[in-house]
Symmetry: C2
Subunit: 344 residues, 2 copies
């Protein structure tokens, strides 16, 4: 072919998606929101919508089976799927699972994987309603589609943030990333050792956050009880910096978030110190926290504070001012997004 070859790294993940989906136009009136949010929004009835999201987890990229127990992997797949539904402020109700199974995978492995899926489904009140299994030449491939439901007026898009809105965050950041770093360190250290005894004492929370994170479906209910519909919302999968930028791009706004308000767990800070890493980098770019980042109007401050488990980490600014992390000594550091670039 006469065409040149452009590497995906030249565009980056987000540039690539923009390029590939630019030509598509929605034709069906049942399509309320298409590409560009955490989930697609589809008309169900006059006042209700169904949201649909799809995600993949690929062996060697998203997980390493040498230290990822299959039961946890099944649990995490469900979390990854329903977290996108939750990020639309919708209630997750169904999932489908599509697996690519290589020959090294045994029936017992799959039994364990599905035990984790079942546990997560029960916990979240979600039904497994379909799927597909096929052979895989290489690694274990998991694809999860999650379906949820909400009143149309309750759906939180990425695009509704307004100047002066408060930027809110559930839970804490960076723990999942530090859990992964810990697992990788122990694997490296113990390579070739007979009867290896990895050292995880004191860092159990980090492992749990990486291996068995829970989606924040509890927040959908908490927000509804308070009568709050976020002006924008997204879940933290690629790291806080990337998600703030996604909201800024979709909402055509800027943002200022404050370093000293960044919620970090004690174990995150402790392990980062031990490994000579900056915990703030883990928080900004680590990802896979499955916490919720959302914005609300300024007058909701008291209600948000009363919920107890939410930090207000910054506020929305005009688009022209850009998106920055503000340090305690008053420096502004421009936020930068990270997407994937293909490995090997």
């Amino acid at each position: 072919m006469a065409k040149g070859r452009t590497e995906i790294a030249e565009l980056g993940e987000f540039g690539l998606i923009d390029r590939l989906t630019a030509k598509f136009q929605n034709k069906n009136k049942s399509t309320i929101c298409g590409v560009g949010d955490d989930a697609a929004v589809i008309e169900a009835s006059k006042d209700k919508a169904i949201v649909v999201s799809t995600d993949s987890m690929l062996e060697g990229i998203d997980f390493d089976l040498t230290y990822f127990p299959p039961k946890h992997l099944g649990y995490k797949a469900v979390t990854k799927g329903i977290s996108d539904v939750v990020a639309m402020n919708a209630v997750p109700e169904q999932i489908t699972l599509s697996l690519g199974i290589s020959s090294k995978i045994s029936v017992e492995f799959l039994d364990d994987f599905y035990e984790g899926v079942e546990f997560a489904c029960k916990e979240a009140g979600v039904d497994l309603v379909g799927g597909d299994t096929s052979a895989s030449m290489t690694g274990f491939v998991v694809n999860i589609t999650a379906v949820g439901r909400a009143k149309k007026s309750d759906i939180a898009y990425r695009s509704g943030a307004k100047e002066h809105d408060l930027i809110c965050l559930t839970g804490n950041l960076g723990a999942s990333y530090m859990g992964l770093r810990l697992l990788e360190r122990e694997r490296r250290v113990l390579q070739g050792v007979d009867n290896p005894q990895p050292q995880f004492e004191g860092y159990e929370y980090l492992l749990q956050r990486y291996l068995k994170p829970r989606a924040r479906y509890d927040m959908v209910e908490s927000l509804r009880k308070e009568g709050i519909v976020p002006t924008s919302m997204i879940d933290i999968t690629d790291g806080l910096a990337s998600e703030v930028l996604q909201i800024c791009k979709a909402s055509k706004c800027g943002a200022r978030i404050y370093l000293e308000r960044m919620p970090l767990a004690k174990q995150t800070t402790a392990l980062a110190e031990e490994m000579h890493l900056d915990p703030v980098v883990a928080a900004l770019n680590g990802g896979e926290d499955y916490e919720l980042l959302f914005t609300v109007p300024l007058d909701k401050r008291e209600q948000i504070v009363s919920l107890g488990c939410i930090d207000i980490i910054g506020h929305i600014t005009a688009e022209s001012t850009g998106a920055y992390l503000v340090t305690p000594d008053g420096n502004d550091i421009a936020l930068q997004a990270q997407g994937f670039t293909p490995k090997r």
Copy 2:
């Protein structure tokens, strides 16, 4: 671990799915139909439902990029997704695409792939509403989720076939499989040849059926115009034999299909003869035809015949009689299902 290791081949694909999903129970009242049909059925409103289906295509298993043009692959991915929606007698309206991208994939490859996706979407009146791209360590991975809509009373499950119902089939069978065999033959013959010139003359239809099959969404409209709701329906992905058995299992019935009524295209028979293959085996076990197999009550015979493009290939019997292919000389051959077993 003390547990033994059971190979997936010991259970087979269908046995595996039954085992893995046995423990799951649906809890949400919005879940109308879960695992076990072409697509899940989810409540949309009092009289309408949304159907959701998910499918994977993995490089090296479902396609070989040495002879599968990316544009056709994109088209076929859409077909594979929406065919499951059509098999529920629903109108496909949205798809999401999730890709695993290895480093050998260029931006230009993806441009072509998405051109095929866009073409298929336009043709079928379907919107691309979401997706996900991630790196893949090994091959190109495509996952497609399709969403459709129907009146609850129009949905055709696998489970509604009744004794004496007519077994109907759209189009013809085995052409896709023969197209694949042709591509594989030419690749083998031309391996290592400079400037290879594959010989496809006279078999263009077979290639088109393998590389660029169209889902039978036209039939959903035709059936609705005739006021016919099939008592059961399934699409032909694993081969006629497997699909007949799926309907028999779900509907608790038997079936008799007649060899002389098996619709075969001229090119299918011609290439099978040239390659010393039995075209009936291609029809029964080849798969990927994306035609529809469905049942209707006996009194719909005239209406079905009047539609023109449908063959009545047999009828439903009592469960105790089993599922058979009847040859012109009166022999009964028991139908056998094929599922995947992991390769390598």
